[in-house]
Symmetry: C2
Subunit: 387 residues, 2 copies
Amino acid sequence: MKEVSIIGIGTTPFNILEGKSLKEIATQACLDAIQDAGLEKESIEAFYLGNFISGILTGQETIAPLVANSLGLPKDIPCTKVEGACCSGGIAFRHGYLLVAAGLAKFVLVAGVEKMSSSTTEKNTEGLASAFDQEAEGRTGLTFPGFFALIARRHMHQYGTKIEHLAGVSVKNHSNSVMNPRARFRKKVSMEEVLASRLIASPIKLYDCCPISDGAAAAVLCPAEIAHQFHKKPIDILASVQTTGYSTSYDMDDPTTLIATVLAAQKAYTISHLSAQNIDVAELHDCFTMAEIVDSEDLGFFPKGKGGFAVEEGLTTVGGKIPINPSGGLISKGHPVGATGLGQVFEIVKQLRGEHENQVKNAEIGLTHNLGATGQVCTVNILKRRD
Amino acid sequence: MKEVSIIGIGTTPFNILEGKSLKEIATQACLDAIQDAGLEKESIEAFYLGNFISGILTGQETIAPLVANSLGLPKDIPCTKVEGACCSGGIAFRHGYLLVAAGLAKFVLVAGVEKMSSSTTEKNTEGLASAFDQEAEGRTGLTFPGFFALIARRHMHQYGTKIEHLAGVSVKNHSNSVMNPRARFRKKVSMEEVLASRLIASPIKLYDCCPISDGAAAAVLCPAEIAHQFHKKPIDILASVQTTGYSTSYDMDDPTTLIATVLAAQKAYTISHLSAQNIDVAELHDCFTMAEIVDSEDLGFFPKGKGGFAVEEGLTTVGGKIPINPSGGLISKGHPVGATGLGQVFEIVKQLRGEHENQVKNAEIGLTHNLGATGQVCTVNILKRRD
């Protein structure tokens, strides 16, 4: 296996991008990443594009060659859409990594995209619910706020996690994204405001939920040995892992743990010869505030049941023991579902380059964690600044 | 690069599979392939599932982990859905090939699936049209019969291709599938019947079109060096290539050629040190009779413009110079869009094992050609019987 580096990143804001199509925003993020890498687009040897629900929302499938043609990529290269619900971007990144690591390609472009704001809330809810097993929980009418509400109730029952812990995640992430020009929300919220916000699925309130957003993010990967020729601050990929979890909540032995995250993290730590204690900054999948708490435990940052208390103690703030989602996370930066995995990579690369607007001091090793559906799909990446 | 072999294949019939869900048919094809390989499912190290429009048609996305859980595959492996319109199955196959060829996995399961018959014709038409660029030709109302009708008109104008040449493809493929128990249509049709069938998009008639179908097909891949331990007739993969073509008809210099096919074939022949003349049997993408003629030229079996005349001369029958679609092809075996690429692999493996119901005598080298959308995506595989 060759060592692989990130030499270029690009992104749109994660926001309501009115008047911009899926193709346009994906193209823009890719062009930015290629330019950041100082690469000719003719050098790209493969393209992976993560997307979840453009078929259902916009009636547009087969978007990988579509965006490739919009970019003007060569015709003799493979351009592939990958889908794994909200983990689609993470899967695209990992597939680019695999090609370069295996020596099958030198320069690979990876991206994620979603255009949600032109659809109604009902259509978005229907689209997102397509990640449930339609023969099982899907047809019961369970939605993702409901799914994470079930987890929250159990977590609170089992570990004494408090409603204020959930709200604390929202307060922290909103506070973080004030500084992030790519974020959808740039205004602080107080604990009182979160707790007083509209009930969505008890105990989950409106401000416990990530917002519907548009966005695209991209990266260019190449072998570590030549990365310095393209970017003065290449970021090395120490591990990139993808795993599988349960399709329904009732299959889970313990719904307070998402097994795909646990397995992906264990594997990523083993491959990189690191542990959770070595991570300086993490962007993890906080589709709901409860998810951030569960993820932070499943990734090994805190013992099971202690994630909520860690938030209360400020351990996950910038400057804390393990800064989580300094970008604002899905909750406050936004969650254009297919783009999120690459958006996380964008934020961590900025951190490791020392160029983030909400910089974690001297961040050397970063982690991204992208989750799909009921925890059915997970990718974990460990990235490192070049010494 | 390691050499890679196919050690197991499985499929459902390509037909109206009433009362069977997408998950059930995918699971069945996969179980059959695993059993054919004589493998324990716990040995599978990665799973790729090709699917085009389950999101739009059935509201079910994220089907790779869903089917993996239905199969009982391990949780620590990556399970990925790939999409490239009607080429989705071919893309899944190639990704399994890449993992084994790169030494990243020993045993990979690949599959394709589509469930179309539970949706209305209108919904299927809408779903299939999602492969057009919705900002360009998609919104003009162009459909795929229309797209291939444009190609047919130009081909007839430029090369003197006759309406009877198109009909001849239908007659041949219907005749072939009489013997194929997996085929949707098992009844011969005459030239007169094809020509008298309902006009769909001039000059394309009803019997020039492939039928809406349900189906799933799967294969198990492993390194060639250990293939004999699992199947007494392993089939070696000499080349597996994926390319990109134009998104719209008006971008094409010459709409009688689909550039993605030309590039994929050239690359596949180069990698395998073979030429079109070495191919003993081919399953190619005849979504419409016109497509078979264009493909047969683009793959190098006949000079450009001569594909229709070759049909007339009987060169593409079993027993002819290059038997094309002895399975019945998409036209008569059926075209469950996401499954087709793997269905073609199933048919060619049966041929190379010498076990096909419509056997090409002493077939040693076979080719599969899977096409997506407006020729936006293409995969070509060259497969060989072990001496």
